[in-house]
């Protein structure tokens, strides 16, 4: 074997090995959902049926609502199609981590423990306080001014599992009995029916859900309608490390907000949700 042939073989073997290890390094690179969407034209989105963010027509199964419209507008501008998947507040992080969804398009409370598992779009899209319903004829609470007055052993509180009301009572209530109702894919205000039916004394959730239920159910009162407690930021979420997709979404949401599209959708769906007030001025 000549020296030239030996050199040629050694270089070839090295190139093959080097290429193999550099390909492997590409595989361990972080998620790039944006690139995947560019190639496939498909966004896999998770949502929780939770008005006014996501509403499901019980006859046709068709989805509508503020988050549905928002993501459809964004997808249209990207020439992409949204494939919707139903999830729950409790399962959303796992659905993102497993790749079932690329985004959780819901008013998802961006609290600190959740931020350990998912990356929220910043700044928050919505800010929602919390409220509670009691039965109108329940004389025991007619002078109650502070939500903490309900933290007693003889009080039963209904909350939707994993929602802001659940997070609030878990953190702040030590004595009351907590009745967690899983509202996945069903009527989101089902936990409020526990109060109407006398199986709970108060139901706590975000102010919008409580307001919607109280509007439809004359037997209850929205107790903190004018003075909601515990303001929570809410936003969309993606997988941690999915940096390009997160940044794209933040830019898209900023665009919709600046153009007034979010305000229009709030009006369309009669959303009782707060936003950070922005003022634009000539300097």
């Amino acid at each position: 074997m000549t020296k030239h042939v030996a050199w040629l073989m050694v270089v070839s073997i090295s190139l093959v090995l080097f290429n193999s290890c550099s390909s492997k390094s590409n595989l361990v690179q972080s998620d790039d959902t944006l690139d995947h969407i560019r190639r496939t034209g498909q966004i896999d989105a998770c949502t929780v049926i939770y008005p006014p963010y996501a509403i499901k027509d019980s006859k046709t199964g068709k989805l509508s609502g503020e988050c549905i419209d928002m993501l459809e507008i964004i997808a249209q501008k990207m020439n992409a199609k949204v494939v919707w998947h139903e999830t729950t507040f409790g399962n959303a992080a796992a659905d993102l981590a497993s790749g079932r969804c690329d985004i959780m398009a819901q008013g998802f409370n961006s609290n600190i423990p959740r931020a350990m598992a998912v990356a929220f779009t910043l700044p928050a899209i919505w800010f929602a306080g919390e409220s509670g319903v009691i039965r109108k004829n329940d004389e025991r609470f007619k002078n109650v001014r502070d939500i903490y007055e309900f933290d007693k052993p003889d009080i039963t509180i209904a909350v939707p599992t994993g929602e802001a009301g659940d997070v609030f009572v878990t953190e702040h209530f030590k004595h009351a009995k907590i009745k967690r109702i899983d509202v996945e894919s069903s009527d989101i205000s089902r936990f409020c029916l526990e109060v109407s039916a006398g199986r709970a004394d108060i139901a706590i959730a975000d102010q919008n859900t409580i307001a919607l239920f109280a509007e439809q159910h004359p037997e209850v009162i929205d107790l903190f309608h004018d003075r909601p407690f515990s303001l929570n930021p809410a936003s969309w979420a993606v997988r941690q490390g999915d940096v390009k997709w997160l940044h794209f979404m933040e830019t898209a949401l900023q665009f919709l907000d600046t153009q007034g599209a979010l305000a229009q959708l709030d009006h369309k769906y009669h959303a009782n949700l707060m936003h950070l007030a922005k003022q634009y001025k000539l300097q």
Binding site: V10, S22, L122, N232
Partner: protein
């Protein structure tokens, strides 16, 4: 054949070294993942009331930033290991991995620092600059503008590397500058130069200067009601530590929205500027 085998061995060795280098280069910092595994946040601070207060007897830390990070840690079942840093070595402390975060909202997020560290957005506070002079120094009683102090016969004391230092470097051409290193010591030590008559003026953030003036009746806080040069202040992490940065931004947003930051400022009797936020139904 021997030559071939020898060359092959060398080539394999070089390939392995190259592969190891690629693997090292493609690894990204993931502090959040490490905190999940260990339950420990390594945090640097620089004692500077009301942001970071060190009990002289016990060494126990408290203050606005200490309480804020402890609250965040509590919500993720983690514990904070506190490390003292200094204005001249905090960048190296974060970059070297001694700390995961410089939890000091009085740290000014200025452009040269943003070349070395990633600051949390939006800024936590906004701090203007002010200056102290001796109360009995009648030379300056009609001075209205800080630029009037830029004279060869004036000595300005500043805290090395702090906002006052950065500001005088950029704006003062004639005055004599006396830089005092305050690392891990009393952060207002440079102000003593004015009290002792070794400097005519000391310049720094309204928080430090205001604190010193409140404790030292021999000086006047000259620009207390109309500070100059508003600067944003924030926490800082390593530049490529993307998940950890994003987590901290979300956590700080949550505490701000819930009113916790305001409560802590009341607790420490601080008066800091913030971006005005108003929440409205659209």
């Amino acid at each position: 054949m021997k030559v071939f085998l020898c060359l092959l061995q060398v080539a394999l060795l070089l390939t392995l070294v190259a592969c190891a280098k690629i693997s090292q280069d493609t690894q990204t910092v993931d502090t959040l993942d490490r905190i999940r595994q260990t339950g420990i946040i390594e945090a640097c601070v620089i004692p500077e009331p009301p942001f970071v207060i060190k009990n002289a007897k016990t060494g126990v830390l408290s203050g606005l930033d200490v309480d804020t990070l402890n609250l965040i840690a509590e919500k993720i079942n983690a514990k904070v290991h506190w490390h003292e840093s200094g204005i001249n070595n905090f960048i190296a402390d974060v970059q070297s991995g001694r700390c995961d975060v410089l939890a000091q909202s009085s740290l000014f997020a200025i452009i040269p620092r943003a070349m070395a560290l990633a600051f949390t957005e939006p800024p936590l506070i906004y701090v203007g600059l002010t200056a102290i002079i001796r109360k009995n120094d009648t030379r300056f009683k009609n001075f209205k503008n800080i630029m009037e102090f830029d004279r060869p016969d004036i000595t300005v004391a500043i805290n090395t590397g702090a906002a006052g230092d950065l500001w005088v470097k950029e704006h003062f051409k004639k005055a004599q500058i006396k830089r005092i290193d305050t690392d891990a010591a009393d952060a207002t030590r440079f102000c003593v130069e004015v009290s002792a008559g070794r400097a005519d003026l000391a310049i720094d953030g309204v928080d430090d200067i205001g604190y010193y003036a409140s404790q030292h009746p021999e000086v006047i806080d000259l620009f207390r009601d109309h500070p100059f040069s508003l600067t944003p202040g924030s926490w800082a992490v390593r530049q490529d530590d993307v998940k950890w940065l994003h987590f901290l931004e979300t956590a700080l947003q949550f505490l701000d929205t819930q009113g916790t930051i305001t409560q802590l400022e009341k607790k420490y009797n601080t008066h800091l500027l913030h971006l005005v936020k108003e929440y409205k139904l659209q």
